[in-house]
């Protein structure tokens, strides 16, 4: 183990110079061995700690983030007051979108109730300086005129600022809702619509951060309030060292 020059034992044999040479050889070999062991400790321990740290980050998720799913679409619509309403009007705000039509009746109860619940419970979230908006987009512009949208908005207490109802040209709506938000809808022969009841959460950059399509045991309102909490926490910690930690959390997929 000490190399060929040290293969002979330390028992006194041969001449004195030969014995001293063997002792010196043994001394340096042990020093080298000791240095190797030290090196292993110096590199190995931090390495193991780093791996444990990364695993702990991924398992215990000390920081949670919402995924940056894809860009939300740009749009030019008309709101319940007949005013132009564009995606740029809500840039910088967190927006919860839903998609419906005025004739959907009971089918929309769940969606509408979620919007109402989220608006009512917004006080549970520390929004800081970030504004929160609710937007209901109708994909039935032929029926949902400004008057119809106004009546709908009034029924839900949508003030036209915090909660807006909007619609637009049919072809543009298809691009916005179907291609952009990826929410399917189709007009039926009787004039009703088949559609996927969906809520979508978008951040101030116009990036989709949450999609709520399937009812689970936990209500959509609970999930959205929880996700708003996570999102606003990330916004508050966007700069400096905390910002780096949040970027790392995105890398390690610390998604709720």
């Amino acid at each position: 183990m000490f190399g060929s020059r040290c293969s002979i034992g330390l028992r006194f044999t041969g001449t004195m110079p030969e014995y001293i040479d063997r002792l010196r050889c043994r001394y340096w070999a042990e020093r080298r061995s000791l240095n190797s062991r030290k090196l292993i400790w110096w590199i190995g321990i931090p390495g193991v700690l780093l791996v444990i740290g990364v695993m702990a980050f991924a398992i215990f998720e000390p920081i949670q983030v919402l995924p940056r799913i894809r860009l939300s679409p740009g749009y030019l619509l008309e709101d319940q007051a007949g005013q132009s309403f564009t995606s740029e009007d809500v840039r910088g705000d967190i927006v919860l979108y839903t998609f419906r039509y005025s004739g959907c009746g009971d089918e929309c109860d769940g969606l509408d109730q979620t919007m109402i619940d989220v608006q009512r419970r917004l006080g549970e979230v520390d929004m800081g300086d970030t504004d929160f908006r609710l937007v209901t987009i109708s994909f039935d512009p032929a029926t949902d005129t400004t008057e119809v949208l106004t009546a709908e908005a009034d029924a839900f207490g949508a003030d036209g600022v915090e909660w807006r109802f909007a619609t637009g040209e049919e072809a543009h709506l298809a691009n916005v809702v179907k291609a952009g938000f990826k929410v399917w809808y189709e007009e039926q022969e009787d004039g009703s619509f088949s559609f996927d009841p969906t809520l979508i959460l978008v951040d101030g950059w116009g990036v989709i951060r949450g999609e709520y399509e399937y009812q689970t045991l936990k209500s959509d309102a609970d999930k959205i309030i929880h996700h708003l909490d996570i999102l606003t926490e990330e916004i508050r910690n966007a700069n400096g060292a905390a910002g780096l930690a949040y970027e790392a959390a995105h890398l390690f997929l610390c998604y709720p």
């Binding site: 860009l71 740009g74 030019l76 995606s87 291609a179 790392a248």
Partner: protein
């Protein structure tokens, strides 16, 4: 100078040198790169683009696989935002030097009525001969702009400019594998654009 003092001073000098090396050379390797815009982590390829390009060509996003594509939505009559952005992108190409060969800047016109492929070709060459402008029918442009998060609408202009087009002024970066990775704000500088593009060119 005593032996102990020499050892202490030597150790201190060693700590300073090791600390400096760690701070300036080792630590930066472990700090994640911070982009100057918003990153996207979609597992789906960037929405497809198929529009009319220079000389009767059809430009598709997939034509540029292996290159980083910078997508910008603007128009040739644009009085301020578009020329400023395209000038910054040209400056970013200068900063990148030879690496710029692997970057393709594409401007999608949000004014298809006035911006023919010929008009766009002349306009883009004014900023950089390698930049290309694409256009198409109103429906195709609306579909592509919408899915890239871009809003646009005609607005009143002056007699000299004709109508103007209000539009989203962000710059999109699609990586070599065809994934939309980054959205840069209009306020970003050429240096920041070059740095972010450089990251995707590694």
């Amino acid at each position: 100078m005593t032996r102990t003092l020499k050892i202490v001073l030597g150790a201190l000098a060693g700590v300073v040198v090791i600390g400096a090396v760690a701070y300036f050379f080792v630590l930066p390797q472990f700090v994640p790169y911070v982009f100057h815009g918003q990153t996207i982590q979609s597992n789906q390829a960037a929405p497809s683009v198929e529009l009319d390009g220079p000389n009767g060509s059809t430009v598709r996003l997939t034509d540029y696989e292996g290159q980083v594509v910078v997508l910008y939505f603007g128009y040739t009559f644009c009085p301020d935002v578009c020329p400023i952005t395209l000038s910054k992108l040209d400056r970013a190409m200068d900063i990148l030097g030879d690496k710029a060969e692997d970057v393709q800047v594409i401007m999608v016109s949000v004014d298809p009525l006035r911006d023919t492929p010929e008009v766009l070709e002349q306009y883009m060459a004014h900023f950089n001969p390698d930049f290309i402008g694409v256009t198409g029918d109103a429906d195709a442009v609306d579909r592509i702009a919408t899915v890239y998060g871009v809003y646009y609408e005609a607005a009143e202009g002056s007699e000299a400019t004709g109508y103007l087009v209000n539009h989203t002024a962000t710059v999109m970066i699609v990586d070599k594998d065809g994934y939309l990775k980054l959205v840069l704000p209009f306020e970003g500088t050429a240096e920041e654009m070059a740095a972010d593009l450089g990251y995707f060119l590694r």
